[in-house]
């Protein structure tokens, strides 16, 4: 395991923190770490800050992420990585679509010209909407407490897609699916970062697989074209035990 001292913990939303630590390692947007909380578990977390002072942004969903957001400056953080295929960044104007904690992995892509569709269940869960330039963001909430009431796809539909050179999407798989269905036959190129159960992070345990490809090594980013041919995308996945289940909203 790699071990680093936490230089800063910033609370950035309800149950959500960004943990910073210096780590002299080249990482690219879209890559992730397997972060180990001794006495809890090891979970995949995207790298939200890819400069020399690295950062990860965690929302607490369960035992391990809960423990992780309790970490303090000066504590140690244990992890392995970086893992995964990064986004293939295309020059030009970016459309960034993030659902829930999915925005964490998209943050390194945000630049002054990027436009964001940031969605969440409720307004206090909206992540990194403030990182886009003035007027460059559409917010979407399930409950309508901020921005458009609806799902991420509704935010996307409200935009003129041909203004953008590439679309980058991350969030729950059903959200990704709804967006893929919408853009499938449009000319905008798109890349999607998926989340599935991950145990090994290195392409051997098969828990994260989709249509024979491992999210942890061949993904988590996939192009529109790659996803379009996949049977499992948006339909079924394996649980921790390896049992096949229908994909539902989290």
């Amino acid at each position: 395991m790699i071990v680093k001292i936490i230089s800063d913990v910033e609370r950035i939303g309800r149950n959500t923190v960004t943990i910073r630590f210096s780590w002299d390692q080249k990482v690219e947007p879209g890559q992730f770490l397997m972060v180990w909380m001794p006495n809890h578990s090891e979970i995949p977390i995207s790298i939200s800050h890819t400069g020399p002072l690295k950062g990860i942004t965690i929302r607490s969903y369960g035992e391990t992420s809960e423990a992780m957001i309790g970490l303090r400056k000066g504590d140690r953080i244990f992890f392995r990585g970086p893992y995964g295929r990064p986004f293939d960044i295309k020059p030009g104007r970016k459309l960034i679509v993030g659902g829930g904690s999915g925005m964490a992995g998209l943050l390194p892509l945000v630049d002054s010209r990027a436009y964001g569709v940031v969605s969440a269940r409720t307004s206090s869960d909206l992540l990194f909407a403030d990182r886009f330039a003035e007027g460059h963001v559409t917010m979407v909430t399930d409950d309508g407490t901020a921005g458009i009431r609806g799902f991420a796809i509704d935010g996307v539909k409200s935009l003129q897609l041909d203004e953008f050179d590439m679309m980058y999407v991350c969030g729950p798989e059903l959200m990704l699916k709804s967006i893929l269905d919408y853009v499938a036959h449009k000319s905008i190129p798109a890349q999607f970062s998926l989340e599935r159960t991950m145990k090994c992070g290195i392409g051997i345990c098969d828990s994260c697989s989709i249509d024979g490809r491992q999210l942890c090594t061949e993904g988590p980013t996939f192009s529109k074209e790659e996803l379009m041919g996949m049977h499992e995308f948006g339909t079924t996945r394996l649980t921790e035990s390896g049992k096949r289940i229908q994909i539902g909203r989290h």
Binding site: M1, V3, M34, W36, P38, N39, H40, S41, E42, I43, R76, F78, R80, K199, C200, G201, I202, G203, I204, C205, D206, S207, S209, I210, D211, G212, R213, Q214, H231, E232, L238, T239, E240, S241, G242, K243, R244
Partner: protein, 300 residues
């Protein structure tokens, strides 16, 4: 003309390489992909009677010379596995169903289900080194091993492979106990542990795990050689194979075929086709026409 196809326990294989149990074989689509990439057969991850989530991660730790794992026999339960078998069998190549249980009866039920699902053979995991009550605890008891193998052989039509543990004092005793199996699979992982000195704690949640990869290659070769020499049984070699020379080393030690696991991580899925191409070149250069001519030539 060089032929890289071979036969083990009467099963025809287009080359001597199978995917090892537990690596990229819980999802039917992944198995299908591995078959497309050139594996002659796949062995499923070990399946038990009921669903288990296994241990909490970390369940795999990359270490020098290989991997350490304690997945904890996570599996969906045999009934939930039918669908994956169906998908994998679309590859039109052998799919071996690996199963684990605590008693002969449990093994029998699992094996009958696998047979019904269309498995080409069953592989008995008598050797998982890190779950109490299963694996090595079963596989180091010669009487129990003999019971299980005998029971299965009397009821099944498909061949039975017995996968043995290297974590025993005398492998030949166990191999003899399993003599009714159609082939022996050697070896499962070697019991090991990794401690994180900064966390001051074992990394694997289960603390103990199984070592695989190059670190155990010469251990595997030794078991294959010894068991081949002492029992003459058909053997499938596994442990640390990551290139053609490793494969040939196992075959010369007495293996009729091999399985590959950890190298999927270090070498990628193209390993099967890459090794097959190099194997042809090796056989050509060394004057071997068929795999069978190489099996056990180093045994003396």
């Amino acid at each position: 003309m060089v032929h890289t196809d071979t036969t083990v326990a009467g099963i025809r294989l287009s080359n001597p390489m199978m995917l090892a149990s537990g690596i990229l074989d819980e999802n039917g689509y992944t198995m299908l992909e591995i078959l497309k990439k050139g594996a002659a057969a796949v062995v499923t991850k070990s399946i038990g009677t009921s669903e288990r989530t296994g241990y909490k991660p970390p369940v795999v730790v990359p270490i020098q010379g290989g991997l350490l794992n304690a997945i904890g026999l996570a599996n969906p339960g045999i009934k939930n596995f039918r669908g994956e078998m169906e998908i994998a069998l679309r590859g039109n190549k052998p799919v071996v169903g690996s199963i684990f249980g605590a008693t002969a009866d449990e093994f029998l039920q699992l094996a009958l289900d696998m047979e019904e699902y269309g498995a080409t053979a069953v592989e008995l995991n008598l050797s998982c080194p890190h779950v109490a009550g299963y694996g090595t605890e079963v596989g180091s008891d010669p009487q129990l091993v003999e019971d299980i193998v005998t029971t299965l052989k009397s009821k099944l039509k498909i061949p039975v492979f017995a996968k043995l543990s290297p974590n025993v004092t005398n492998i030949v005793d166990i191999a003899n106990a399993a003599h009714k199996a159609d082939a022996l699979v050697l070896i499962n992982t070697v019991r090991a542990m990794s401690i994180d000195i900064h966390a001051r704690k074992a990394v694997l949640t289960n603390r103990y795990g199984g070592l695989s990869g190059p670190a155990i290659k010469n251990v595997g070769v030794r078991y294959v050689y010894e068991v081949r020499k002492e029992t003459g049984k058909e053997i499938i070699g596994v442990g640390g194979i990551e290139n053609t020379n490793d494969l040939v080393e196992y075959v010369m030690a007495g293996a009729s075929a091999v399985q590959i696991g950890t190298a999927l991580y270090t070498q990628g899925k193209d390993i099967f086709s890459r090794i097959e191409a190099n194997l042809e070149k090796f056989m050509e250069a060394e004057g071997f026409n068929r795999i069978s001519e190489m099996i056990g030539v180093a045994v003396e």
